[in-house]
């Protein structure tokens, strides 16, 4: 019973994460905010049973994609789904250097720092990461989150309330060339391009403000 009331003690990486996100001073000035466009490749779409194979991410700051500030990591698999190999090309014993899920997630949280997450269908990637965090008895992510799908809905002039846009559709709309589809970092880069173009469009009618952008996200943590 005593244990129940005891203040929860987190591993260091997680307390750092919480502290950084909660104390960040950057969010007020758009030029200072570090965004991280991310994408995960997974063994499947089942939050309970499937696992992350790879995380790719690249940072954006002041309207620039910073290639030097990117992240690409592969995770060793206990669970393996033959079906999705066709999509992401990551085999169980491929050549990539792979880390354990724990090592990978800790590295990722460290990389993420106080950044605002940008993804396409963010809920999926974030949930997969949260599941992994959960297995480490921490989580969920505290980071602020944006979704290129919802930002688009905000910008688009037509009523697109019910429509869900795929990454391909957005690439078509925003004239983004698709290279390296279905590699985590490739999709992360495409997402980053979309985000740059979307914020440029958004800026035309509105002063850029993180909280307005976040408000486009009615279903993600605000």
């Amino acid at each position: 019973m005593i244990r129940f009331f005891k203040k929860k003690r987190y591993p260091e990486f997680w307390s750092t994460h919480i502290e950084k996100v909660q104390n960040s001073q950057k969010y007020a000035n758009f030029e200072d905010i570090r965004f991280v466009a991310l994408d995960t490749e997974t063994t499947g779409f089942d939050y309970e049973n499937d696992r992350i194979l790879c995380i790719g991410a690249v940072a954006i700051k002041n309207n620039k994609i910073l290639v030097s500030d990117s992240f690409e990591i592969y995770i060793k698999q206990a669970i393996f789904n033959k079906e999705t190999v066709k999509i992401h090309g990551i085999r169980k014993d491929g050549n990539e250097i792979k880390l354990s899920e724990e090592e990978a997630i800790i590295k990722f949280i460290d990389y993420l720092d106080d950044a605002v997450i940008v993804a396409h269908h963010t809920a999926f990637d974030v949930t997969m990461i949260n599941q992994a965090l959960n297995r480490l008895n921490v989580g969920p992510l505290e980071s602020k989150q944006l979704d290129t799908n919802y930002i688009h809905k905000k910008i688009a002039k037509t009523d697109t309330y019910k429509k869900i846009f795929s990454l391909e559709e957005l690439c078509e709309i925003y004239n983004v060339k698709m290279h390296d589809r279905h590699t985590a970092l490739g999709d992360a880069l495409i997402t980053a391009y979309l985000f740059l173009k979307q914020t440029a469009k958004y800026k035309k009618n509105n002063a850029l403000n993180l909280f307005d952008l976040i408000n486009t996200n009615y279903h993600l943590p605000k």
């Binding site: 690409e72 290279h179 590699t183």
Partner: protein, 639 residues
Amino acid sequence: MKNTIAERIYDFLKNFPPFDVLEKEQLFKIASNVKVTYIEKDNFVFKQEENPHEHFYVVKDGAIGLYRDMDNEQILVDICDEGDIFGLRPLIQNDLYLMSAKANEESVLYAVSVEILKEIIETNDKVKKFLIASFSSNIKTPYAKGTNGQLFANIEMLQTSNSSFTEIQSAEFSKNPVTTLKTATIKEAAKIMSEKRVGSILIVENKNPIGIITDKDLRSKIATGLVSIDESVTAIMSSPVKTFKQKITVAEAQIAMIKNKITHLCITKDGTNKTELIGVLSEHDIVVMHGNNPSLLIKKVSRAKDVNSLKYIREKASNLLQGYIEQNIPIIFISKIISEINEAITIKAIELSLEEMDKEPPVKFGWLALGSQGRKEQLLMTDQDNALVFEDVPSEKYQPTKQYFLQLAKKITEKLNVIGFEYCPADMMASNPKWCLSLSEWKNQFDSWIKTPTEDAMMMCTIFFDFDLVFGDKKLVYEMSESIFKSIESFEIFLNFMGRNALRNPPPIGFFRQFLVENDGEHKDQFDIKSRALMPLVDAARLLTLSHSIKDKNNTISRFKKLAKAEPKNEDLYLSCIDSFKILLQFRTQQGLTNNDSGRYVDLNKLSKSEKLSLKGCFKPIRDVQDLLNIRYNLAQMM
């Protein structure tokens, strides 16, 4: 750590200079540190007079226009598209941006850290050279002398290796010529020659050369018994000798030998035969210097007995040309040699045709090369453009005389055609009765073109004013030139019309999509280097020399040289026109050789970035000289 994005950027950059010459690790370092940025149409990357960013930019997608603000107007200076770099110079020179960069369409840019590049510049000479070239082509104005000298502290080091177009090596000659006095006998002279194992001996008087005896003289005049070996050397020596200055170039030496049909040149102190002999330059020396030998071809031309051997020689000359271009031999030298060969072939074709005629020409005549042949700028096999002038004859003799020369011209043009000079599609050939005229007919023809400057007449002027006598009577040609200047003097507005004609093809401002390529026809999407780049310079040079009444200068380069002297305030501009012209001519020749055609149409997609850059650099002087014509002849009003 693996970085797929950096790999992609690496793959992109490696196709474009200067990144293509970087070491793999160097480029990967650049790629890994790129910042990718997106800019919407009509937004600025930077503005003129702004402090430089930490990065320069490479266009990944889209197009960026570089503008200069002048009197509240934005003047488009250049357009950068895929793979072009911009905004670098101010970073290296610690200067403000000289131009504004604005997205002409939405663009994705790679921002590259200048610090990393600076490190690389220190160790990679090729990169340094490329950057200097790109700076000078972006900012070089003919009026800002020496701008490109300040880019890097160690520019001197680079300049020495950058002189491919300007230098022609001086000819090496033997400094201790074998000589004898005019009192010597032929036998004595021959003895000295065998002792010293030389093929020629100079006869000197007070150290000045007065004559020369070669092996050939001994063969033809002594061995045949024509002259006794005990006679004085003066009996068989060739005299006077052709003398030249010490600084004679290989090209000049070859031409002198070809022109004078001699094999030895005397080098004297001041170049005349009135000063001390200091050396002899033989054909053999030149062969040794060159390996390849155009004078041999000329020799073959003069020995040729029929058209087929001429054709063979012309093909050989093409090979020679190819070799010269590959070796990056200065274009002036190449064009001199090739023109001489072409001229020799034409002369031989005329001589062969004259032999075929039943009788001697009834009066003096001149065979004229026109257009690019007349300007001696024809390097590749192009069409023949020629004309014939004959002395005035009494009217009753006119018809038979004209018939004679038409028949002769027909024979000549047929031969030239067999040799490989295609017939002119517009029939501008001496075999056309319109272009086989007596002197007074030519004078009238020029006069009427000048005084009724229709578009057609202007076209004719651009072709016929660049004539050059290939064979025949010099005086006739001189009188033709005189008549042109006289007619222009009495009708000066002609120059304005000529100016308008010279501006009909504005040069492109940059290589950019359909912007400057041909819109339709067989050469759709190709760049017409002749009419868009070479002709504007040729036209400008012609017009300006006419306006100064400069005679005897039919070659574009020598015209600009003369103009630079005549108008010191425009010297820089004219000299930059010469540079551009040389580069363009070389380029066209290279294109022609590669594609086995006239080289006139250039497929932009096949050009490397540095080729595009060097072409682009040529457009600025064209624009500037056209501006000058525009103002001088008040052409804005006439357009």
